[in-house]
């Protein structure tokens, strides 16, 4: 077939499937935080990408510190935790200072957070310089595993995949099995009643928003394994991740996962057969078209209106 042996084609299919998966995990990590904030709270956070960048810079900085103290092998775990913490803290502050005043005006949150993203980008530039920086990865994360001699599965891809699974599981447990999650869902369902039964809804909002930002921080840490970090890194994925959330049906975590998977695989396959820009254009076009047919997204539940 096309001058290639079946084995060669088989190998490519396996690796191609994996590269789709790895794009999926990056999209998923980005979109999960967004899905919580947008889907659950109705807030459009255009600065989501910058929270990711906070995580990425944190990881880069910690990698530098780790390199100077010589424990490069395990710093990544700490980096993820600190990236989460830092992004969470900044998110907490931002909710307090800006977002909480704008819950009644979703379109305006969009503009305010866009402004915030500009400010954050300039803070990054002033602090870390305009040049892109890169985290030095632990030795064990470099290279690939070879199930057969001709198949290379990148280790960093596997790592990010594991991380994404863990975060998704964590989010699920938090939202559906914890008391906090119950409060969040109660507040989303009926703010007034939630307040009436003694839930501090303002605090729930703040924690939910901060959590979404924290997850973006984790995404940023993961992102350093595949690309470099610059002041404007966050803008790369912001539209993609919004599309994932909207396409999945705003309120549904399952929807977010499914749509991240669909979009990533479609884009990955199309980019194999087309040029990279046409692959991307076709994917986005398909999403927009489907959204026009089915505006509520893939997994929106039917509700009595």
């Amino acid at each position: 077939m096309f001058g290639y042996s079946m084995a060669e084609i088989g190998n490519i299919v396996v690796m191609q499937g994996f590269s789709g998966l790895s794009m999926f995990t990056v999209l998923l990590l980005m979109a999960l935080g967004l899905a919580i904030i947008f889907g659950q709270m109705g807030v459009i956070n255009m600065a989501h990408g910058e929270f990711m960048t906070i995580g990425a810079y944190t990881t880069v900085m910690i990698s530098k510190v780790a390199a100077s103290y010589g424990f490069t092998d395990y710093y990544f775990i700490f980096a993820i935790i600190i990236a989460f913490g830092l992004a969470f803290a900044v998110g907490y502050l931002v909710e307090f200072a800006i977002i909480r005043h704008l819950y009644k005006r979703p379109l305006d949150t969009l503009l305010a957070t866009w402004g915030l993203s500009l400010v954050m980008q300039q803070i990054f530039r002033s602090t870390f310089g305009a040049k892109e920086v890169s985290a030095e990865l632990p030795e064990w994360m470099l290279g690939s595993v070879n199930p057969t001699p001709d198949i290379d599965i990148p280790i960093n891809g596997l790592f990010v995949m594991g991380l994404a699974a863990l975060v998704t599981f964590g989010v699920y447990m938090f939202m559906y099995k914890s008391r906090w999650g119950l409060r969040v869902r109660a507040t989303v369902q009926n703010r007034t009643m939630a307040g009436a039964v003694g839930i501090n809804t303002a605090k729930v909002d703040r924690v939910t928003f901060a959590l979404g930002c924290g997850i973006a921080g984790i995404a940023g840490a993961a992102f350093t394994t595949i690309a470099s970090t610059g002041p404007t890194t966050g803008t790369l994925y912001i539209v993609d991740s919004f599309m994932v959330v909207v396409f999945g049906g705003a309120a549904s975590i399952v929807g977010t996962i499914a749509s991240a998977f669909g979009i990533a695989q479609a884009q990955s396959v199309l980019q194999f057969f087309m040029t990279s820009s046409m692959g991307k254009v076709s994917t986005l076009l398909a999403i927009v078209t489907i959204l026009m047919m089915k505006p509520e997204g893939l997994f929106a539940s039917k509700l009595r209106k």
């Binding site: 503009l111 300039q122 007034t192």
Partner: protein, 427 residues
């Protein structure tokens, strides 16, 4: 009645305050600026004023219609590109391009190994067609997007995000198809229009004035729309879409129309941009310029046509000044402006002006102030609807014989209202 009184009484112009506002703006654009600054600065201001077309369109679309498009760059770009295609063809005659492998086609096509002019470029050899295209193609594009979305009642933030995605698609496409579009470089080195050199100082003055007149045309057109029943319906739709629909109006048609009108205005701005600046590039199509244009409008006052023009001038002037002296501070300032305007001055400069004008009793003009739309905080958003519903319920409950039933009912209804469906005013 004197002419002055007649004008002041006209609903179209918006009463005495409206007439004075327009007169001041006209004086600024046609007298003060051309006399006060040199041709270099004036050309820059002309460039800013082309963005004002977009801002004026956004006042109609967003300020009055409540529809926030984050893709106005699409239309600005389409208009600009249409004009650029015409000018580029004129700049690519076989003699000037004789060093190319294929003389007579635009230089970037030659670099990309095209050997003939693509078919869709052919009609742009004609200026009338180009002007026709500037007016219709963006409007048609807006019609397609608008039809698909508004007929299915996609609104609110969903509309914003989807228009943003479309802007992204178009800019990737332009960059990716560089043999046909000039790619990331855009179309540069545009020189003449029907043999008239657009780069000379006299041409720049003429284009500046033409641009100013067209802008006033756009403002008057918008004023007309706003003062008609259509304008009233637009406000009505923004606040209570369901009510309008159940008063027998096909809401989507109104939205499609206003979207197309705003698109057409943006396109005229784009075409004027190309003429005054001498090139067009994809950096005016994507997400960033589209959002920046929204901020021009927001700074000026999202509901005020004249405010939008001042907002555009002010933000761009600030950008030029700051990026010359403190380039690092500019993004802080711009970002801060976004946040401040949204949080503290939702009605922008126009809002501040109105506040003080009213406070000190300038231009008292009751009929107008009553009609002046404020930024609505109702209609779109769940929380406000919730509180409103609740207070109505509470009021009902105190009167009702069946308080318990009423509370129970409230609970159930809340669940439906606060559904994740934050699209438009449906909730």
């Amino acid at each position: 009645m004197t002419l002055w009184e007649k004008m002041c009484a006209s609903d179209l112009l918006g009463g005495k305050q409206g007439v004075i506002g327009l007169a001041v703006l006209a004086a600024v654009i046609f007298l003060v600026l051309p006399l006060g600054v040199d041709i270099f600065r004036l050309n820059l201001i002309g460039k800013y004023l082309t963005y004002a077309f977009v801002a004026v369109g956004l006042v109609l679309l967003w300020g009055h219609g409540g529809i926030l498009s984050l893709g106005q760059g699409i239309f600005f770009g389409l208009g600009g590109y249409a004009m650029a295609m015409f000018l580029k063809l004129e700049a690519s005659d076989p003699i000037t391009t004789k060093i190319q492998s294929t003389p007579g086609i635009p230089d970037f096509m030659d670099w990309n190994q095209l050997t003939a002019l693509p078919w869709f470029w052919e009609p742009f050899k004609s200026l009338p067609f180009t002007i026709f295209a500037v007016l219709t193609i963006p409007a048609l594009f807006a019609y397609i997007i608008g039809y698909a979305m508004f007929k299915r009642r996609v609104g609110g933030v969903y509309f914003s995000i989807i228009t943003q995605a479309v802007a992204l698609i178009l800019s990737i496409l332009i960059v990716g198809q560089q043999g046909y579009t000039g790619g990331v470089n855009g179309m540069t080195d545009l020189r003449t229009m029907l043999g008239w050199d657009i780069r000379t100082d006299s041409a720049k003055y003429i284009l500046y004035y033409a641009n100013g007149l067209l802008l006033f045309g756009a403002i008057f057109l918008s004023k007309y729309v706003m003062s008609s029943k259509f304008g009233m319906l637009l406000l009505a739709m923004r606040d209570k879409e369901e009510r309008v629909r159940f008063s027998g109006y096909d809401v989507s048609n109104f939205k499609i129309f206003i979207f197309c009108l705003a698109a057409m205005m943006s396109a005229v701005g784009g075409a004027m941009f190309t003429l005054q600046v001498g090139f067009m590039s994809p950096s005016f199509v994507g997400i960033v310029p589209s959002i920046e244009m929204v901020i021009f409008c927001a700074v000026g006052g999202r509901a005020s046509l004249i405010g939008a023009v001042y907002g555009t001038l002010l933000v761009n002037y600030g950008k030029t000044v700051f990026s010359e002296t403190y380039p690092e501070l500019w993004l802080f300032l711009m970002g801060g402006l976004f946040i401040a305007v949204v949080m503290f001055f939702p009605n922008g400069i126009a809002g501040i002006w109105d506040k003080y004008a009213t406070k000190y009793g300038w231009f008292k003009d009751k009929a107008v102030t009553a009609k002046k739309p404020e930024v609505s905080t109702t209609g779109v958003e769940t929380h406000a609807v919730l509180t409103e519903t609740l207070s109505a319920e509470a009021a009902a409950a105190t009167e009702s014989t069946d308080v318990a039933a009423s509370v129970k009912k409230t609970t159930r209804k809340k669940a439906a209202i606060s559904s994740p469906n934050i699209r438009g005013a449906e909730a």
